[in-house]
């Protein structure tokens, strides 16, 4: 009996420990605020199932569901993706009318919550006119919903879910148009070599899945490409404040660039301590550094810090600016973080549906036929990106974008040139 008590106590401690670890993770997740991998929301407002009614079966009605968080703390992600998708759909309405079909949008709210995502997926599945889903916006929700879609053979094209796991599970209905988290690592190495002309690189990571994954990608790419000397590859402990040991090492080795795989909390302290010790090279990371906190922690040292992101700046080109103007004139809404991704995800879906209609001799295709058509997409030119799905459903043309901090502001630098 006593032994059992002891065991129960240990188990309790363990549970507490994991609970704490969970806390830590979700805190850091919200940090990467445009990686699309957001923490589940704490509150549970309602707001789902607004237009879930099946509707009468009028011939030639095609519904595309758009699912993401429309309420809760992550609603900015879902709203912007939905608005982009809605705009793309309204632009193509006429084209589909000519083919004899009425296009409709079915927005659903998943609150970025894996449980809510299943309910939202059900709503889309039970509506027989839904031929494909643009969503889900966040990785956690997308993964749990993908199980449902897989059972029903309904295609989902995620606009902004970057978590690696989503397409690694081998579900044939899952697609995404954005880059995967791990693409940021290899692309960063390419960028460092080709655009920053780095000769000596020091790679750091925080020993966590996200950070170490990125660092390993950078290392692998550097070793593959050659031309860049890897002068160090080290891990730090997240949550510490004293990185002087590693900082001394870096200062002594004088690399041109330090790549850090991890979040802003450690990244900010690292660059601050590096600059205090007189380090003059560059500092680069991924979207884990994309936070205003970075500037608060590092102060002036944040200036010049480069980071990659899977989300581009739409208004960087002339053409993009024009699109933004049109979008804002037509919808009365502002372009936000995932608007462009939602827009092109919808365009890709509609392209797939169009192909499926053609393959079906102009008749309304089945869900399976839409999945097949999407699988064949290998060179579709969207507005902001090219889309071609590989066997996993990832976009092989997905772009990684580079930003940097200047005077405490985030500035868009450009795309990674191959």
């Amino acid at each position: 009996m006593k032994k059992r008590m002891k065991f129960a106590f240990l188990a309790g401690l363990l549970a507490l420990g994991t609970a704490l670890a969970g806390c830590g993770n979700s805190a850091s997740n919200t940090a990467s605020n445009n990686s699309g991998e957001a923490a589940p929301p704490a509150n549970s407002g309602s707001g789902s199932g607004s237009e879930a009614s099946a509707g009468e079966k009028a011939g030639g009605k095609i519904v595309i569901a758009s699912i993401g968080p429309l309420s809760g703390p992550n609603s900015a992600y879902g709203e912007t993706a939905k608005e982009g998708a809605e705009y793309a759909l309204s632009n193509r309405k006429e084209d589909f009318k000519k083919l004899g079909f009425d296009l409709e949008l079915l927005p659903q709210d998943d609150q970025a919550d894996p449980k809510q995502a299943v309910a939202a997926a059900e709503a889309a599945i039970t509506n027989k006119d839904v031929l494909a889903v643009v969503g889900h916006v966040t990785t956690g929700a997308a993964i749990s919903a993908s199980v449902k879609y897989d059972q029903e053979g309904l295609a989902m094209v995620a606009p902004s879910a970057t978590g690696i796991q989503l397409t690694e599970e081998g579900k044939k209905v899952v697609f995404r148009v954005c880059a995967r988290d791990d693409a940021q690592g290899s692309q960063a190495a390419v960028y460092a070599k080709n655009q920053l002309n780095v000769k000596k690189l020091f790679v750091l990571h925080d020993k966590q899945a996200y950070g170490q994954g990125l660092a390993e990608q950078v290392k692998a790419q550097v070793e593959k490409d050659g031309g860049v000397e890897l002068v160090g590859y080290e891990g730090i402990t997240a949550g510490e404040k004293d990185y002087s040991a590693i900082v001394n090492q870096i200062v002594a080795k004088k690399p041109d660039l330090v790549y850090f795989g991890g979040y802003y909390a450690e990244g900010g302290i690292l660059i601050k301590q590096l600059r205090e010790k007189g380090y003059e090279g560059g500092f680069m990371g991924a979207d884990g550094l994309d936070s205003d906190e970075m500037v608060k922690i590092a102060g002036k040292a944040a200036d010049g810090v480069i980071y990659t992101s899977t989300v581009g700046d739409v208004s960087a080109t002339e053409e993009g600016k024009k699109w933004v103007e049109e979008f804002e004139k037509n919808t009365g809404k502002k372009v936000g973080i995932f608007t462009s991704l939602g827009y092109d995800a919808m365009n890709t879906v509609l392209h797939g549906v169009e192909e499926a209609i053609k393959a079906n001799n102009g008749n309304k295709p089945t869900r399976e036929q839409v999945v097949e058509a999407l699988k064949k997409v290998n060179d579709f030119q969207g507005k902001f990106m090219k889309v071609g799905f590989d066997e996993k459903g990832d976009n092989s043309f997905a772009q990684v974008f580079v930003y940097k901090f200047e005077n405490g502001q985030k500035v868009y630098v450009g795309q990674v040139q191959q």
Binding site: L16, G24, A27, K207, G232, Y233, E234, G235, I236, T237, G239, E240, K241, D242, S244, A245, I246, N248, Q249, V251, A252, A265, G268, I269, K272, E276, K277, G278, E293, K296, I297, G299
Partner: protein, 315 residues
């Protein structure tokens, strides 16, 4: 490779002295009550937050601008020590004293509970007050002395001087003052001490007051050194300070100081040189492994710790 050695040693010493002062808090309480106050790391954290808040508030009132940094620093230190000292007494009164005669494990669990409570309380308050999880405070000492072979930041000097002053002060207090003698008496035998008209409860309160205010003061030093704090800094630092206390022989004050400096230096040296010495097989991420391995070795061959004595003379 050796060119960075002086810098590594300076960083190690700065870190080590901080560990040492926090280790004192663990060792003092253990010396008196034979119980490990796991909430001590969180008291250190509260000290860091109080200090940073004091500086932030003075700054927002515009009073920090013209103030001498040393004056501002001392005021911060005193306020933070007072608040954490009171916090220590309160914790003792509420969470430990009712359990003094309970089995050894019970106050330990109570201490873990207190540490969670403090973490979340601070997180909660900061979330409401500043809508932030990480607090960034003004750093008062930003200058540095360039010696050519190494740079000594003035904040390191301030930290080391204050830490040494606190440790010397504590040693004198315990060996010379009436209350110090009473503390030593209680640590040797509570019931006999109470027969000698020593108020045991008061002595224990005093121990918590001093230990906690030292912890709080270290929090201020820590915040000054790194400029950025979060509610979870107490866990890792507390862990290492506890290791330092055990390394030196828990319950022994000189041992805690020595252990702290050793852990700080080992960590710094291992972090800087491990990768090169093992040709990249073990990198800086293993620096804590080295520190804890030393602890295991010491415990295997000298279980009472480096400074522990076979006949226990505590505090």
């Amino acid at each position: 490779m050796l060119s960075m050695l002086p810098q590594v040693l300076i960083d190690g010493l700065t870190l080590g002295f901080m560990y040492a002062v926090v280790a004192l808090g663990y060792t003092m309480v253990y010396g008196i009550l034979e119980f490990i106050n796991f909430a001590h790391g969180e008291i250190f954290m509260v000290g860091a937050f109080v200090g940073t808040e004091v500086l932030l508030i003075t700054d927002s009132l515009g009073a920090l601008e013209g103030m001498n940094p040393f004056v501002a620093f001392l005021i911060t230190l005193i306020i933070s020590m007072a608040i954490t000292g009171l916090l220590g007494i309160t914790i003792e009164r509420v969470a430990y004293r009712p359990l003094r005669n309970a089995p050894r494990l019970v106050p330990l669990i109570s201490a873990i509970g207190v540490s969670f409570l403090l973490q979340d309380l601070v997180r909660f308050t900061e979330a409401i007050a500043r809508n932030a999880f990480i607090l960034n405070g003004p750093q008062l000492f930003t200058g540095k002395f360039d010696l050519g072979f190494a740079q000594i930041p003035s904040k390191s000097i301030v930290i080391i001087v204050i830490a040494i002053a606190m440790m010397v002060g504590l040693s004198l207090f315990i060996s010379k003052s009436k209350w110090g003698i009473a503390m030593r008496a209680v640590s040797q035998d509570q019931s006999t001490a109470s027969l000698m008209t020593i108020n045991v409860d008061k002595v224990i309160m005093l121990t918590f007051l001093i230990g906690s205010s030292l912890g709080g003061a270290t929090g201020v030093l820590f915040a000054q050194n790194y400029g950025s704090i979060d509610p979870f800094i107490g866990f890792i630092l507390g862990m290492k300070a506890f290791t330092a206390a055990v390394l030196g022989g828990i319950g022994n004050i000189k041992g805690a100081m020595f252990g702290g400096v050793v852990i700080g230096l080992v960590e710094s040296l291992a972090g800087a040189y491990m990768g090169q010495l093992t040709n990249g097989a073990f990198g800086a991420e293993y620096k804590d492994v080295i520190a804890f391995s030393i602890l295991i070795l010491v415990l295997l061959f000298k279980p009472e710790g480096l400074f522990g004595e076979a006949v226990k003379e505590k505090v």
